[in-house]
């Protein structure tokens, strides 16, 4: 699937919906969990709040703030009409022109906006209705470019993990390690990195790093999630500062087995919930059923943005039927009372033969000599 193929699908959905226009909105805060419908329609990641408008003929207009970023937008989005603006809602009014007041408008991304922006969009388009599905339904499968970028992001993540093993040491703070890892991924071409990591003798979860100096015996858990050209890919890894105990090795092997069960269940035609159930089953069989639910765990993986996080979470309430070219994380990421939280996960791309990891090397418990 190409970017243009996807736009054509969105255009067809727009035609079928009865809306004359689809308006996509994003505030420019590029959070891993916040899909970006503007990027879906244009391929562009903005510095400030942005909007994109698609009409039934497939013509796309991009409202870009700040105004001075318009030239970058024009280069990134050939064929798209660019409206430079210092205020995204004023720019949207310009983009809509006379059509805005009378046309049936579907809006994507409104609920994620800061309310001061959402309020003004509603004033501008009082009859607009939520239409996130029109934009995002076509993003279940990644484009060829997105998959290529995910592969590169994965390569960078694996090099980042190697770097982590080289530099992590007692007395280094979590913050310093996380900052170095993000910088390292940037030096390899990543435009961002959701480098969520922490350390401790018994982690309750993976959390943002803080100023705690790491100590010998700590278990480091990390999600390295570089973005390459706007496409995220993630690896979830666990390592020990020092020698791992036999118990930790045994429990990590269990989590790896759970992940392998998830991969085996991820077949075309299966539902996403089946992947979650397969992972849960391995852990439940070992007596960890009560840890297979919140607050210990709420999902066994997730889609990978920034543009779209479809096909969504690897969770029991996700009925999405798996198909080739879908991209998502499979990560058991389990809290176990004996060891604490353990991270283990790979980015998976669906093929006609089932899910395949993008990584060259599967998660294994690592030891860092101290």
């Amino acid at each position: 699937m190409t970017f243009d193929d996807r736009l054509l699908e969105i255009r067809r959905s727009l035609e079928a919906s009865g809306f004359a226009l689809a308006v996509a909105l994003h505030d420019g805060a590029h959070f891993i969990e916040k899909p970006n419908p503007v990027t879906v329609l244009t391929g562009f990641r903005s510095l400030g709040p942005a909007a994109a408008v698609m009409d039934r003929a497939g013509a796309v207009t991009l409202v870009v703030t700040p105004r001075w970023d318009a030239e970058r937008a024009a280069q990134a989005c050939p064929g798209v009409r660019i409206v430079p603006a210092d205020d995204v809602v004023e720019g949207l009014a310009v983009a809509l022109g006379s059509a805005g007041g009378s046309a049936a408008v579907g809006v994507a991304g409104l609920s994620a906006l800061p309310c001061r922006l959402a309020r003004r969009v509603k004033e501008l388009l009082p009859d607009a209705q939520a239409a996130d599905d029109i934009v995002f339904a076509a993003t279940l499968r990644k484009t060829d470019d997105e998959l290529a970028h995910a592969r590169e992001a994965t390569r960078i993540a694996e090099l980042g993990f190697r770097r982590l093993l080289e530099i992590a040491r007692p007395d280094m703070t979590e913050d310093a390690l996380a900052a170095e890892l993000r910088w390292h991924s940037r030096s390899l071409g990543a435009d961002d990195n959701f480098a969520l990591m922490c350390a401790g003798p018994h982690n309750r979860a993976v959390a943002p790093s803080n100023g705690r100096p790491m100590q010998a015996g700590d278990i480091i858990v990390c999600e390295l999630t570089p973005s390459y050209r706007g496409q995220l890919a993630q690896i979830c890894r666990t390592m020990v500062l020092g020698e791992a105990s036999p118990l930790l090795r045994q429990k990590y092997a269990l989590v790896v087995a759970a992940m392998e069960a998830g991969f085996a269940a991820a077949q075309p035609g299966a539902a996403m919930r089946d992947v979650c159930a397969a992972i849960d089953a391995v852990l439940e069989a070992e007596g960890y059923g009560e840890y297979c639910h919140p607050p210990h765990i709420r999902r066994r993986g997730h889609g990978l943005g920034f543009a779209s996080s479809r096909p969504g979470d690897v969770a029991l309430d996700n009925d999405t039927v798996l198909a080739p070219d879908m991209l998502f994380m499979i990560h058991p990421n389990q809290y176990l009372p004996e060891t604490g939280y353990l991270l283990c996960g790979e980015p998976a791309v669906m093929t006609p033969e089932g899910a395949r990891p993008l990584t060259a090397q599967q998660a294994a418990l690592a030891e860092i000599p101290v």
């Binding site: 309310c115 913050d175 071409g189 435009d191 959390a207 100023g211």
Partner: protein, 372 residues
Amino acid sequence: MRTMHPTLLIGPADWTPDRLPAEEYSRRLAQLWADHPRAGGAIVHGDPREHGALAYLTHFTPKLEPALALLSKSGEARLLVGGGATMIGAARPLTFIKDLAPLRDPGAAVAEWTRGLPVGAEIVLINGDAMTSSTFDAVQTALRGRSVIDGDGQLAARMRVKSAHELALIRAACAMLSEGVAALREAFRRGNGVSDCILQAEHALLEKGAQDVRSLFSLDGGRTLQPFEELVARRVDPLAAYLAVRHDGYWVDTFCSLQSRPDRLTDHAQAVLDAVIADVHPGVDPATLPRRSEALRGSFGPHPVTGVCTARSVGLSLDDEPASGRRPSAVGEVHALHVGLTDASHGTFASAIVAVTAHGSELLWSSRSHHA
């Protein structure tokens, strides 16, 4: 100044009482209640992008998800942290507030909190406009029957005037910035490519313990600026770049215009900036500083990124709008001043950070001493 916002805030953000003691926060809270004498409490929203007010009152930087501070005038403060109960441990070092809880249902949490406040007491809402609509509506519903005051304007005025502790942090941030620019200049002098120059500068700042670093750069002689999107190996001369560094919450930033040959445009930009700096003194309206620079630009054009000159209050947010409206500068305010000029083929910049003092101003940072 807008830069590409990162998906996760990474960097040292723990509360360090040596640098910002508890008394500093007690003073800030006392000012808040003095500004709102009929208030019984305040609700302060912060998220990874917009959390200047939250950081000012609690020191907390929400690295991952939004947070909500419930500040009682006569009771203990409570901080609700996004991400669930397992995030509390990681959040605890980032604030002096002892009572931390997961931010699950903001409406229910606010309703429970208001029950403990005096009947009839007003509630100050700060940064509420940055909440999503669903959170804002839930909070408003929970506050039904209470008088709710928008506290943004008065708090912003308080935040503009820096204490001695804040000035010390800003000076330290400026010293860091010098390290970053020196690394940028050295990489440029060696003939390195654009990305490598930027990466060297960023790394120097991170090694100095920066809380956050942002950058922009130009591939077309300073005519436009762009964020880091992919590696660019080629060298450019002149190199225009923007660097921002955060230290214990406080952002300082500069534009850099590096070139291997003397450049009349950059000299002129620096001269305009010098004239603007000379105008900084107590009582000056910062919004007038850019206007005065307009007359000095000569035949050169205003740069699209900065205009001829932009003045922004230095503080806990990088995205704040430039100064506007009419208000006199007070002693203790710190302004970031950026001059940008263009000619037919390229653009250039000059930057300074200036503190307003009782006797005029003090230059905390100048791009003049960092030109290649």
